[in-house]
Amino acid sequence: MRSKRIRKREKINLTVNGHAYELDVGRQAHQLDPAHTLAKTLRETLGLTGTKIGCDRGSCGSCTVLMDGKAILSCTTLTVECDGKSITTIEGLGDPQKGILDPLQQAFIDHTAFQCGFCTPGMIMGAKALLGQNRSPDEGQVKEALSGHYCRCISHYHVLRAVLEAAKRIR
């Protein structure tokens, strides 16, 4: 059903970090291939490489972005499914032009809540979605919300401190 509708329309509109984009759907090099995942579109078409691809199979959490405020896995979301949606990536947090960080980003810096840093953008976006729904999560709720995020360096303990600290600062 969905694919038929898209074929008819041949264009999709989406907003990423506040900017509106209109993408032509098609198989030419300059077009949005219906097979492209949102992760691929963000990284390769829009140049937003802050979103990381760890497994490309929806099981590591590193490609997490917000769609209308909810955390989604951009590697298992087709861009053609995002018509009319608003996407926020790590690049859209805080106010990058003014150099203002989101409290989560600042807390991650203050607690060195990363080692290699590859999972960090996804982890921060996952935490952002949580704090959007629950401003005062307890440790168990943070763990639950981030349980799909893989971190092999084991920065989990630092991340928990950072997210709880950010929640406190936001309140």
Binding site: A35, R43, K52, R57, P121, Y150, R152
Partner: protein
């Protein structure tokens, strides 16, 4: 102890990582974020069979596909080889594991490259395969390489010089066993081939600037390896290596020889830059697993815990190949001696190749593999002697003045620390004395739930391994630049080195920066391996900073009509010691158009081993067989903390990188009929989630260790190593039955309890 400590301006205080802003804003550049002009994408066709000859390959259709720029098979790849001795070709006429490379394609897009792979026709002649180390060395076993009869890979390869360690033989073991009151004996294995599994898969970009000039970008923890190790394997082109941010490595991405070969071969054939980035499946099934380790051995101990003899045969299984196995054997043999003080050894090793995915470098580097297989035997002896393992380890871990053969085959005498205090502080924090109830005795029983505790130790003298060089350049604007070829793969080492230099120069930390990890612009550094960053690299940058400082003071002396040693530099001004008011800015000591550069070098020093003890508490459900990790305490003495948050991160790492969880649930499941790994994705390869975190406490002593002026020592590498055996011990104690197989799955627990039938 802390009252006696020197108070530093930066050393020991938590400071933000230099790259923190880049990381939290998504600007940190990892390998997949790098693009070169006209870059192509390389893909690998992989074997569906564990062992086969390639009779025919037809690439015509693949070559004809629009967008395909190069197709390579064993017939037309360069003759480069890796492995020790060199035996692993870029592509061969034979495949040796499911996933072995058959052909390479470079194309304008990844999709086209993948499509082209499907157009390559291969005719295979299937051969029988072998997966077990002891079967592989039988005369009638299928043979992987013509040059390795009975699949035995040579050990006399001088990987660490003419006396390179490949066994531990000293004293008289017969006499030693004669003196023993108790003997532990058996064959145990640590053969779950777990995957270090950094989140970012390996990736390499190769670009030739001429037939003999290659530039390589790689997600590596040790930028220089792609140059100094690959040079001889590739016929000595001039290789410039640049390390991107590395999204985790844990050893495995030190050195991505295969992806580099593929990218470089395709780049050569196409005349374009080529990126080869492995998929997660390739990272699981065709990259770097832990070595297989099986130990058939014997240990003799006296009633008081004195170890009288160790003998045995250590079988090390590389899978199809491993580029560093002999080095891992050397270090493993050394580390066993650090753990066990014993005069009589006869520990022999055999290195064997089999038809499964290759092994590579993994955190723990041989020592974790040997100890994990050895521990059940040690436990049997300690159990008979009714010894408290904490007391046993305290008695037997190497002490200052005692010696060991290290990896270079030389006898080194420990001039480091007696770690007994770290052991006792850790035991206290864990409440070991309260929780330890004796061997095969639970700490507590509540219905079907039983609690047990276990402990393990590990240490490594590689903290002072290999060479490091660095320049420190003082700039007229009162900034300092460190030139050292050091990557960032999670340890925060680049930031820690800046702290050391800021401390030497008494310069605000934000005024110290570092050149990118690029072999063209930096002197030699061996890389971030063996926890060498703090001592080895630290020594080089400290010496370089001190050299630069001395040169600056010498330049300034005439301006003060005094001697250099009467001067100091403080916040970018040279002044008379203790008189900051007399300060002359650096730009007036030099000039606006001059810099002042110092040089430092570190030479290997294997006399200062590090140490870690891990206490674990598990809960076993005797109904379901599930083992849950409840509580972990790690204890160490690092001499002096450089950055507390980064250090803690390294210690928590015990739970990652094919560490402690290889005793609980991590394994690569090999189908021994078809040769396939069955769980090569992140759903089927179990990993620890946030919801499953145990309580975890780090006890860190700082008693000053004789390394460099900050008396600090690295410890990151060994975080994973004592965990697996400690978990087995804890689970055994919980259920009251000896559990000796990794991982201790519910099935194994229920079998031990007699609740389900044994195989």
């Amino acid at each position: 102890m802390t009252t006696m400590k020197t108070q530093y301006r930066y050393i020991g205080k938590p400071t933000p990582r230099n790259d923190a802003l880049e990381i939290v804003t998504g600007k940190a550049e990892f390998i997949d974020d790098v693009k070169r002009p006209a870059m192509l994408y390389g893909k690998v066709l992989r074997s569906p069979y564990p062992h086969a000859n390639i009779l025919e390959i037809d690439t015509t259709k693949a070559e004809a596909l629009p967008g395909v720029k190069a197709v390579l098979t064993h017939k037309n790849v360069p003759g480069w080889k890796t492995g020790i001795p060199r035996h692993v070709r870029v592509l061969d006429r034979k495949v040796r594991f499911v996933g072995d490379a058959v052909a390479l394609v470079a194309a304008e897009t990844e999709e086209i490259a993948a499509e082209a792979l499907g157009l390559i026709k291969v005719e295979y002649e299937k051969l029988p395969a072998v997966y077990d180390v002891e079967q592989a060395i039988q005369p009638d076993a299928p043979q992987l390489y013509d040059e390795f009869p009975r699949n035995l890979v040579p050990l006399d390869v001088k990987v660490f010089g003419p006396k390179s360690l490949s066994k531990v033989v000293m004293g008289d073991v017969e006499k030693g066993f004669g003196e023993a009151d108790f003997i532990g004996e058996g064959t145990y294995a640590y053969e779950n081939f777990a995957n270090p599994l950094p989140l970012e898969p390996p990736g390499v970009i190769a670009e030739w600037e001429g037939p003999e000039k290659l530039t390589v970008w790689s997600a590596t923890q040790s930028a220089s390896w792609h140059r100094f190790i690959m040079l001889s394997k590739m016929g000595f082109p001039d290789i410039r290596t640049i390390s991107t941010h590395c999204g985790g490595s844990f050893g495995s991405k030190n050195y991505s020889a295969q992806p580099l070969f593929y990218a470089a071969a395709l780049a050569k054939a196409s005349g374009r830059a080529v990126k080869v980035r492995y998929t997660k499946e390739e990272q699981f099934g065709a990259f770097a697993l832990r070595l297989g380790s099986r130990f058939r051995g014997k240990v003799g101990i006296k009633k008081d815990g004195t170890v009288t003899a160790v003998s045995g045969e250590w079988f090390v299984d590389t899978g199809a190949f491993s580029d560093m196995a002999q080095a891992q054997i050397a270090v493993g043999c050394g580390e066993a001696q650090l753990m066990l003080r014993c005069l009589n050894w006869d520990l022999r090793t055999r290195l064997v190749c089999t038809n499964r995915n290759a092994s590579g470098i993994v955190r723990g580097f041989g020592g974790q593999e040997l100890e994990s297989a050895f521990h059940p035997i040690l436990s049997i002896a300690m159990e008979q002697a009714e010894l408290d393992p904490v007391e046993f380890f305290k008695k037997n871990y190497v002490k200052p003045g005692e010696g060991y053969y290290w990896r270079d085959g030389n006898w080194w005498v420990c001039r480091g620390k007696d770690y007994s205090n770290a052991i006792m502080e850790g035991a206290k924090a864990f409440q070991w004395k309260e929780k330890w109830k004796g061997w095969l005795t639970p700490t507590a029983v509540q219905g079907t739930k039983r609690i047990g505790v276990g402990v393990g130790v590990h240490g490594n003298a590689d903290v002072g391994e290999d060479e490091s060089e660095a320049y420190v350049r003082l700039n007229p604007d009162a900034t300092a630049t460190i030139h050292a070829c050091v990557s960032e793969s999670g340890m925060g080492q680049r930031s820690s080195l800046c702290k050391m230099v800021a401390e030497v120069l008494q310069l605000p930390l934000e005024r110290v920066s570092m050149t990118p990890p690029d072999s063209l612009i930096n002197p030699f550094d061996f890389g971030l391996v063996g926890s060498r960053g703090t001592f080895a690299i630290g020594s080089a940058v400290i010496a370089a900073a001190e050299d630069a400082r001395q040169k600056l003071l010498a330049l300034a002396a005439p301006l003060f009509h005094s001697e250099p040693d009467e001067l100091e530099s403080m916040d970018g001004k040279v002044c008379v010691k203790g008189k900051p008011g007399t300060g002359i800015p650096w730009n007036r000591v030099t000039s606006l158009t001059q810099t002042c550069t110092g040089f430092g070098r570190f030479k290997p020093d294997y006399s200062v081993p590090n140490f870690l003890i891990l206490f674990v508490e598990v809960e076993v459900d005797t109904e379901t067989g599930q083992v849950v990790l409840l509580n972990v305490v790690s204890a160490t003495d690092v001499g002096q903390v450089i950055d507390p948050l980064s250090l803690e991160g390294q210690l928590y790492g015990a739970l990652g990188a094919a560490g402690m969880d290889t005793a609980l649930f991590e394994e690569s499941v090999l189908d021994r009929r078809q040769g396939h790994l069955l769980n090569i994705n992140m759903m089927d390869y179990k990993w620890r989630t946030f919801s499953e975190l145990p309580r975890f406490r780090n006890v860190i002593l700082e008693t000053g260790i004789p390394t460099h002026r900050y008396k600090a020592l690295g410890v990151g590498e060994i975080a994973t190593s004592p965990g697996p055996s400690a978990v087995l011990m804890a689970a055994s104690n919980a259920v009251g039955k000896r559990l000796c197989d990794y991982p201790v799955t519910p099935e194994r627990v229920l079998k031990a309890l007699g609740k389900i039938k044994k195989e």
